[in-house]
Structures are given as C-alpha cells and as structure tokens.
Symmetry: D2
Subunit: 343 residues, 4 copies
C-alpha cells in the first residue's frame, strides 16, 4: 500500500500517518517527490482498509498494491484447479460443455432435451427450477417440482445437473439435486448466499454480475473459497454496456485475464452473452478460441414455445453443428472435445 500526501504537509501530519501505520502493525517508508510525498507500507497490508488513511489531513490518495483476494489468486496456487466429476472434469484439457434449456417447464420437455443431448455425448445438463425474473408477473420457475424433474432426468440419463439457487432458504434442497450449484449474475454480490455456498459440498458456478469487474468477480469467489468450498467455476456471461443490438456484451477479454489472475476454471455463456440464437455459434467459437475452459449454452427442442429465453436458445440440430465445429477448433487451442454423435 502506498499513501500519497501533499508534499507541503506539515511534519506533524506526516508523523500522525506514520504513527497510524505502526499502529496497524506495518512499517512506513517515505519518498519525497517534487509535488507529492509518498509513504510505502510494508507488513500485513491485506487487513487494512484504504479508508483508514484516506481521511487523515493532507492525505490525497491511498493506492493498494497487493490484490485484495488471496485464496483464489495464482500467487497462492499457481497450477490450474480442475474440478472433477467422475471421469469428466472442468478446468483441465477437456472442454466442458454444459447444455440444456433455460427453465424446467415439464417432465416431457426435460426428458426430450436431455435425451437428445446425452446422445451427442453431452454430460452436463443445465435447466433452472428457480428463475430470477425482473418482473413479479413473469414465470418464476417450477421450483421444488422442477428440482424433482431434474432428479429424475439425472437418474434416467446419467447426466450431471447444473441448476441455480436463488436464496439461502432453498440452497440446501438445490444442492441435493445439483452436481453444480449456479449462482446467477444478480446474486454475485449477495454475500449471505456466497457465504453459505462456501459451506456446501457441491461445486459452485459463479456468474459474473452485469456491471461487475473481473476483480469484483474474484472477490465474490474469494467469499466462497474462504468459507471452505474450493470448487468454484467462474462464468463470463456478458456485461451491461451502451450497446442495444445485443442483450449483453460478452467480454471475452475476461477469459485470458481471468486465467492469468486465478487458478479457478472459467467458462463462457454465449447465450446470455449475446442473446440472439443465430449468433450464439459464432460467439461459442470465439470463446473457445480465447481459451475458455468450457461453455454453457441454452438448447431447447422447441424454442418458439419455450417459457423463457427461447430467443437465445439453439435447437438440438444447430447445437450439433456447432459441436462439430468446436471439435475441429479444440485441438488448435490445446483442448479436447470428444463427441459420441455420428456426423
């Protein structure tokens, strides 16, 4: 941490800052420039809030030099974290593909889609039983009933279930069915929920908030990890920008940046990231080319009648074509994608 003071600060005020630095267990190192006086701090600076110094007289700025996150950082663990699911994994050489509809609508829909996906060799199935919706008058998901349908599909097709938990009241019942518990973008800074996610035994898929920076996302992951759950998968799903032709702006820069700063896996959601089904394949390819560890894609057998997000869902047919392209792309970026489907 570096504290910047006015170079004309009275000696008395500089002394006060120095005293406070000693008080928090650190050591001050003074550098006098022509316009500014800088005081470097060494010692246990992670625990210090910038605020503690910002208010002191003649202090102009407090610059943090070390990152605020620790456990999720590459500095603490340099090798990639690989989340294992039986013989499959996310975060390693295998390209992880999670597919399925936005919402659980009924048993038939889930069984139809899960069946088609399983045939293509897809092992991770997504579908929401609890749906956060911006209008109280929109379809809010089948809730417990939806979870039960997912539990049945899991048994029937031997697939891993990825589904969202919206609050701590229902986290436990979601975690019972889910192989991966998803935390949605709007809950990325719901700290009570994150803390509880740190105490469950299932991996967590943490989606980036709509206006969150990569650092915000890593701090939210730190909440989960510091509470005991190291199995966190990050997900870039598009951020809010001024653009109006797309639902969100998929930030693929985040992929190589996240891979540099953290050991956690990063996957991409091109369905929400662009929000227009026709362009989902292009963005899926781009995400993998950028180095993503996997994709989470909305697939529906009848998008026109889907209860939510039909507009951004691929049909099994267009999804299959995409998989074939991804299979060609994967080895160029040192990933593997093995499909069962005949072409």
């Amino acid at each position: 941490m570096v504290i910047i003071m006015d170079v004309n600060a009275p000696q008395e005020n500089v002394e006060k800052v120095k005293e406070k630095i000693f008080a928090v267990g650190c050591k001050p190192h003074i550098i006098v420039g022509s316009q500014k006086l800088a005081i470097g701090l060494t010692g246990p600076t992670e625990a210090i809030d910038e605020e503690e110094f910002q208010l002191m007289d003649f202090v102009e700025e407090v610059l943090r030099v070390s990152k605020k996150y620790k456990l999720v950082s590459r500095e603490v663990k340099s090798e990639d974290s690989i989340i294992q699911f039986g013989e499959h994994s996310i975060g390693g050489k295998e390209l992880g593909i999670i597919a399925g509809p936005c919402s659980v609508e009924n048993r038939d829909q889930i069984f139809t889609i899960a069946g088609k996906l399983k045939e293509m060799g897809i092992n991770f199935f997504r579908a929401g039983a609890y749906k956060p919706r911006s209008s109280p008058y929109s379809f809010q998901g089948l809730k417990e009933k939806g979870l039960q349908i997912l539990a049945e599909a899991k048994k029937e097709f031997d697939i891993k279930i990825v589904t969202e938990a919206m609050d701590s009241d229902t986290l436990d019942i979601v975690a019972e069915v889910a192989d991966v518990v998803q935390i949605g973008a709007r809950n990325m800074q719901n700290y009570s929920l994150l803390e509880k996610c740190g105490k469950i035994k299932k991996p967590v898929l943490l989606k980036r908030g709509m206006a969150a920076t990569v650092e915000d996302l890593l701090m939210s992951a730190e909440y989960i990890v510091s509470n005991g759950n190291f199995n966190v998968i990050l997900c870039e799903r598009g951020i809010k920008t001024f653009e109006t032709y797309t639902r969100n702006t998929l930030d693929l820069n985040a992929v190589p940046v996240i891979k540099k700063h953290t050991h956690l896996p990063i996957i991409v959601d091109p369905s929400h990231g662009i929000g227009i089904w026709e362009k989902v394949p292009a963005m899926s390819m781009a995400a993998v080319a950028a180095g993503a560890d996997g994709l989470i894609i909305e697939v529906h057998h009848d998008p026109e009648h889907a209860m939510s997000d039909g507009y951004q869902s691929l049909t099994p047919k267009t999804f299959k074509k995409l998989l074939e392209k991804l299979e060609q792309l994967a080895p160029i970026v040192d990933k593997e994608l093995k499909l069962l489907c005949e072409k």
Copy 2:
C-alpha cells in the same frame, strides 16, 4: 405492444403472428409501411413477454408501449404516497432527513451520535448492524448485537431506526427493531428478499442498484408492492460510471423522473453518491433543489476512527451547518424543514 416484421414477410408468416396474438387474448392491427410491417396489439398486453413473439420468422422487433410496472405507477395512483411515522412523514411537504453513522460500532458511539442528532431535531437515525462488504476479510457489522444497541437507542432518544437487512434469514429480526428496513444497492434485484419485504409490516427503503435504470428500480419496487407492502421509499445513491474522481455518480436526473413515473417517495443518499465528505453538503443541496423528498446522510462524531465509510461522513458540526442551509433552501422548492437546534 407493437410487433415489427419485414414488409416482405410471406402472408403465411403474418398469419401465424396474428394467430398467436389472438391466442394470448389480444387483437392485431396491421399497418403496412414501405420498409416494415407493424402489428399493433390491443388487449391485456402486460402479461405477454416480448420473447413470445421475437423468435417467430420475419419478426424483427417487439416494442413494448405500456410500462411493465403497474402498482407503483402514477397511472394507477396519481397522488403522492406519504409514509407516516407518528407526527413525521416522508413523501409529503416535510423534508425527511435520515442521519447517522455507516455502522453500529458500539453502544457509546451510537448513543453519542444519536444524542447529538436528536438535539438538532433529527428524527430518523441510520446505522448498519449487518454490513455487506466486498471483501470477506472486512468488518461485517456487529449483527444481532448491533440491532440490540439500536433498540436501546430508539428507546432512549425516541428516534426512528433505519437499518439494513441483508438476507431473508435475518429480515424478521431486523424488522422488529427497524422503523424502516433498508435494502441495499447490491440486493436491489435479490427477488427472494424483495418478495419477503412485501410481507413485512414495516416501510422499506429500497436503494437503486449501481447499474440499475430507473425502470429496474421501479420493477424492484413493484415486487415489494405486489406482495402486499405499499410503504416503499426509493433511494438514489449514485450509479457506476467511468468517473474515477468520485465513488459513484449521483444521478439527480432520477429525482424529477421518478417523481413523474411513480407516486412513491424518492430520497437521495449524497454520502454514497459522491463518497467524499467535503462535497456531501453541495450534493445534499443539489438533491433538495432537484425536488427530493429527503436525504440520508452519514454522520459520525469521529470519522477518522470510524470502522467504515469515515471518508464520506460528516461530523455533527458540518452536518449542522448543512441543515441551516437546507432550512433556507427548503421553502424555495416547496418543502419544509423544522430544526430544533439553536443557530
């Protein structure tokens, strides 16, 4: 709702759209332009999702004409909602001033500040027992112990308590002590929590999310109101922009805009809105000049040693000076501020 189609769409596809319009209980009205074909819908359009039509062939855009919120809109209730607290109120002619420290730190701090504020004629006291923090390593509030201190201060000084609830687990115990339950910016789209706020008997202070539009804020208020609690106070507290010299960008445009679209009261938080104590008085004045129904301001007797947000807190002395200015300003914008303090 207006559905825009390609003017060259085959008749068959136009018929499909018309059939779907009838199916949802509405009537289609076709207008053929030179480039586009527009189909206006009349009937119960509130319940229709734009999505339902967006995916149909040759449909290019679906434009919503009516707002999605109903109960909070001026169209449903044209006169201002006034939230009554004994002889005081928020939303009417009286300028509502809520003041106090960011966090409850200890009994002495709360009693010192509450005492000074009460002397000046302040009736609404803010202080957080539960603190949402972006780092899991920062001070998270005194929690239940903090609530207890607030309950004691309430009794001692006869003040209304405004304090934050972070999750549904603690909502009830917060609502027991609080006269107004605050929902923070990061929880503005925590729909589970909003629903539960609709079922409590206390007024809710709903803060605008950092990247939320006014419409998003009104939709979140609609969640609370449609669940049964009409006593919602909206709060503009600054949004995220590219500016780095300030903590947030206080959006005072929102004040007259919100007053036009909804009957709910709107107050302003200049402390978070600019984040620099020296400039809080200027922004407080600006907020009231823009037509705000009140202010929520951080005041601490010893900001330099505050456990959080000291940097943006006024001292009782600077706060008192501000109150004197506000007293002069209020009548120019048809508000009233009555202070007890001698000048």
Copy 3:
C-alpha cells in the same frame, strides 16, 4: 510515479528498471514489501509515460501519483479564474446565464428570442450556426448565413454570442462573430481543433464528452491552455449511462469536484443533461445548488416548431419563472443573479 514489481524479481531486472529511471532523469527509491516491491520515482515525472516501464520484465503496474495536467490545476493557480466580458463575467460571484435556441433557424426567430431574453436581463446568447448531427440526413445548421444573423443580433441587442465551432476550417470565422467559441461534446478529444482553440483570442466553452471523465476533460482543457489561451470555461452537459428515461445523465458531482481540481469556471447545461424540458428547471436549480458558476439553457419561443432540440427547450415564459427561483437560490450559495425583468 510508483513502479510495482514482483517481490521475487531477479536483482538483474530490478537493476534494469533502476537504470531506466536514472536514464529519464529521475531517482529510484526502493521499498520491499511481502508480496510486492515498489520503486518510487522522484524528479521530473510529468514527462514520463507509464508505458515506458510497463513492458519491462517483472514490472506489474505503474502508478501515477502526480496529475498529468498542470496549467489548469489548482496547484499551479489556486485562485478562481474569472473570465471577464465587459461589466459581466463568468467564474466569479455573478451567476452566468447563457440562453437561446439550439440552432439559428432564421433572422426572425433569433431576433424574437434574443429580444425576449435581453428584456429579462440575459447577456449571453447561445445559438448554433454549425450543428453536429448524428445523421447526415438531418438539418446541419445555416452555417455562414447563421453566423451573419448572429452578428446582426449581437449588434441589435448588445448581447454576447456563444456559438459552436465544429472544425478548424471554420474556427476563424466562428471566432470573429462569437464572444465565446463552444467546442461540442463529440469534439472534446479532437486534438487538432483544441490546439487551434489555444491560438484564438476568444474564450472557449469546452463541453465534456459523453463518456469522458473529469480528468479527460481537464486534459482537453490543458491542450487549449498549453497552446496559449487561458480563457476556458468548462461545461458539464450530461454523460452516457445505462439510463433510458433521460437523454443523458447530468453528473452534478462533477461541479464540486472540478472546482476542487481546477481554477477554471464550470457551468452546467441542464437542457442536454436531462433532455426533457419539463425537468430542466429542477436540474437548473440543482446545478446552482451544487455550486456551478453558471448555466447554459435552451430557450425557444416556439419549441414545437423548433428545427432541433425543441423537446428540451424552455419557452421564455417557463424560463422567466426559473430565473425568479434562481434569483432566490443564488444568495444561499454565495452567488448573485440580477435580473431586469419585472416579476
């Protein structure tokens, strides 16, 4: 400037950085922390680009401590700059009010509006002869003919003319007629134009770009001032945010922040800042309450038939009512507004 390196950087690489620091005429000061090694620089750091060091091995970040702008900063000149126009001025105690239509449409329109404004005691008249428009098919202004009309109105009514220059080709002819040359938001970083503005003899009204920070604005002002023209008036006119209910988001935080960092005057354009005429008075009041040195407001005698921006223009009548309110507000914030109009 502070250079942050990995604490495990080889001595050889630290030496290389030190050598480069000496090479640019500065001195290095090393602080070894637990995770990072910081090197403070003293000497003539203004001329150094952060880039020069960012690429060196083991360098992680380069933090600028001094501001990049000099001549416009309070550090170089602590007292407020007051731009004098005969007996009137902008930047001092007098509240500067600039009013008039968006565009020069014809001689009658200009003379009608200028006449009405002059009667109310308004001394600064705005109207654009050159209009930057986002569509090549929209009205682009009367150009030279418009300037001529302004020149006539200036003579007739003894008013100061504020009008926009869009490029260096026409800067000179604009500057001949104008008392203040306006540089629009889209040209805030048109550096060729800014340089030339530094060489004219007329004051420049520099509008903040739509996505510009306060620092960007000050750097653009530095371009003008460092080229020789010290008479720059800054203008906050709203920035782009996610909000859709308003044309722009008026950033009134910028007012006290700009007043702190620079000696140049800052005025506010509420017409563009909110973009809805009904709410312009509220935002005008807010701007003055926040400490602005003046306002620039669109006024049109027949907004419904205005060729541009009618939607955000006040009529002379609503403008007069606003002036009466401003006259009451001004003394509370230590400003003066003297109107000639009978009430």
Copy 4:
C-alpha cells in the same frame, strides 16, 4: 415510425398530430389500446426527426421502426462489399491482416519491421505519422516526415499503407501516401472529417468510438458513404466499460451483429481491444473465430523501446506464431490465410 399517445388524449390533440403527419407527407394509422393510443406512420419516414412529434401535447413516445442508416445497410445491398487492393482484398474470403507499429519513429524502425512482416507474407502495413494523444505533452508523431518514411517503405517493400488522418487539414496529404486512411476512435463522430472522407478516392478504415454503439458506428459510416466513398472498412477496437484489468473491452459480439446489419467489411483490433501484448494472440484467435474479415495488430521489433503502445505490441516472433495458429483456424470459419513464411 410509431407515435404513442395517452389513451385519454383529447380528440383535438390527436387531430393535431394527424395533421402534422400529413404535413410531412406521411399517413397516420390509429390503434386504440387500453392504456395507450398508437399512431403508425407510413410514407417517407426516414427524413422525419423523432423530435418533431415528441413535444406535442399528450405524445408520450416516438418509436423509430426503420433504421436511420440506409446506404450501408444490408437492405440496400445484400451481398458483402469487398474492397479490392490489386490481387488482395478485405471483406471477402481472404483474411485481411494489417500489421505494424503504433507510430512511425524513424526510417530504420519502419524498414526493419516492414521487412520482417513482408517476409511473412503480410501485405498491409500500419503505422501512425499523426498520433492523437490525450496529453499535449506526449509524443504527437513525426507528422509529414512520418508520411514520407511510409511512402519510401511502400515503394521498397510493395506494401499497402494504413495510416491515420486526424483532421481535414492533413487529410489530403495522408490520402496521397495511404492506401487506407484510418479514422481513429476519438474522431468517429467528427462529422466534418467524415464528410471529407466521403470525397477522397481512398478506402477508409473507420474505428468504433470508445462509447459508441454499433448503430452509432453505422451512422458514421453512412456519413462517408452518403458523401460518395463506398469503400469503408469498419473496425472494432474495444469499448470503454468498468473493467480495469484491460485497456478496453473488445466487443466481439459486434462482429456477427455488424455482418448482419451491413454489407461493409468488419475487422478487429485486438491490440487496443485488450491492451496487453501477452493476451493479443488469444483475442486475435477469438476475433477470427467470431467471423471477422481481418485483424489489425501492433507489431514492433523492440517493444520495450517503442515510443508508444509498446505494452500492447507483439514482436515479429510472437506474431509469426500467431499467424501459424490463424492459418489453422481460418478454414474452420470459411476464411483463407496464405502465408509465405517457412515454419
């Protein structure tokens, strides 16, 4: 265009709107809903400003249905525009690669880099003689002298030159040397310059502004095309977002979206788009995977001593490795990249 009015608007006001619609040469079509009354317009709506109706009493919103751009739209020309440069082209099957340093620094530097690139089979060379810089104290380019060096390199290596014009004063001399005239992000809405670009005989590379939407970019292209120059290449170079770990946020969504709305070619600048050289290859791959027609990449033989943008420049060696990967990727997305370099 659709005009939305309050359903309770007096008949007299509806008539006024209808009259105005006839007056601008269009026809009104009225639809009466439960909350709103909508009036559809048919006829020559492109020439109408929304503004003309927005201010009329009881009008609540004016929705544009047709796009404002015409000549650049797919509706006017459905097949892709291919810009031909002798045997090479941009916009067709060939993947266009433009490479070179940020700035012309001296003859040696340009000849060294151009020589290395030509050897690899690169035919488009970028380097700036005029450099728009946010500080007046930074290196502003070699200007005319830089152009002369580029002219020599062009002759020596038989390469096409891509270089920036910053203002209309120097546009002609830039266009003499350049094969493609670049318009920088900060000038994307410098309409005077765009108009003049419409009158030159060289193709224009138009960079997206930092806060511009795709529609803004297309409107700026429309300025050039409507003034007579159909050879416009669009360039996505990253937009401003809240992210701080990267220089800009590369918006690759824009690639498939732009290809849908316009026939003009779209290339991507990953160097500015992420701003960190190590991550430029990943983002180059992603851009091509998303469907870009080409790339513009900063390459410098000695980035550590580059006078600008060294931090985001590849060395010829890392660039060559990227080319090899791109060569593998191109056929998967139906593009061709033919390199001369031995591997």
